[in-house]
């Protein structure tokens, strides 16, 4: 990796950077800036599975965001999060899978091995004060597991809370969020 100022380049011409993990969040954060700049008092931006909010509902109550259960094709919720002025970002290994010779490979890849992540977390929903931060933290939780994520959550500025669903079905809550069931 060649770093010059704020520019990053990969030395290997066959490699490229995939911004899939954070692009939606980055766009969400820029949309918030745009809308606030135009005098909008509050909005919920649904980026298709990820949500960015600022302000609150018209009646002043917090936004209510449902968290889907981590089962492919399911529309069931495991609970609802109430948030204001925050992004709610999910990463999971239960959608977007490729099956080859009966083995399924999901889309979140471990940068150290190039293989799909293999941790105890099947779904991570992070509430953070910016969408890009939420994208980063939720992807890391799925990549490296609940133990590493718990430590990272604690020492990250801008982290508000998280809900992790583990492989064994356990639902863990972190920080300042409560999953209303």
């Amino acid at each position: 990796v060649v770093i010059v100022g704020d520019t990053v380049q990969l030395a290997d011409s066959d490699a490229w950077i995939d911004l899939g993990a954070i692009a939606k969040g980055y766009i969400g954060d820029r949309l918030v800036e745009f809308l606030v700049g135009r005098g909008v008092a509050g909005a919920l931006i649904d980026l298709g599975g990820d949500v960015v909010t600022f302000g609150s509902r018209q009646d002043g109550s917090p936004w209510r965001i449902g968290v889907r259960e981590p089962v492919a094709g399911s529309s069931e919720l495991i609970g609802v999060l109430e948030v204001s002025e925050a992004s709610v970002i999910s990463s999971g290994v239960y959608e977007r899978q490729l099956v080859v010779d009966g083995v399924s490979y999901h889309h979140i890849l471990d940068p150290f091995t190039g293989m799909p992540a293999c941790s105890d977390v099947v779904s991570a929903t992070v509430v953070a004060d910016s969408a890009v931060l939420g994208e980063g933290l939720s992807t890391i939780a799925v990549l490296f597991g609940s133990e590493l994520a718990a430590g990272l959550f604690e020492r990250t500025n801008g982290f508000i809370g998280a809900v992790l669903v583990l492989e064994n079905g356990d639902v863990l809550e972190f920080g300042d969020v409560r999953l209303i069931r």
């Binding site: 919920l44 949500v51 965001i65 968290v67 889907r68 259960e69 981590p70 919720l77 999910s90």
Partner: protein, 124 residues
């Protein structure tokens, strides 16, 4: 043995009748369509109790919208707005996504079983 056959027939009959009842009654969940014009609620339709299909004409601030209503579902069938995104949304039976005609300021939201009442969005 005869008595056993009799009770088996009765039991079989109950199973068949239950299955038919479940097919007829269980098919349509209770769901209400709330129709707003210029942010004001103008109509509430219990979709599960609709017997004959009918239309509702909504004269919004920007033009005319025609809602088509059948048992368990509703759609925007015609609109004089420029893009007709509302018409392309097709039939809806509930859920958290409303039917919206932004140019004419007509909105249809859903309330009731399976509608995700009081939820603004879903992640995951």
């Amino acid at each position: 043995l005869k008595s056993n056959k009799f009770w088996l027939l009765i039991l079989g009959g109950i199973v068949v009748l239950s299955a038919v009842a479940a097919m007829l009654l269980g098919h349509v969940q209770s769901s209400y369509a709330l129709i707003y014009k210029d942010n004001v609620l103008t109509d509430t339709v219990n979709l599960s109790s609709v017997i004959e299909p009918y239309n509702i004409d909504v004269l919004g601030s920007g033009g005319v919208n025609i809602l088509k209503i059948e048992r368990g579902r509703i759609r925007m069938s015609r609109a004089n707005c420029p893009d007709r995104i509302c018409v392309r949304q097709g039939w809806k039976s509930g859920g958290i996504t409303p039917i919206v005609c932004l140019p004419n300021r007509v909105v249809v939201t859903f309330d009731g079983i399976g509608s995700g009442v009081d939820i603004d969005a879903v992640v995951g």
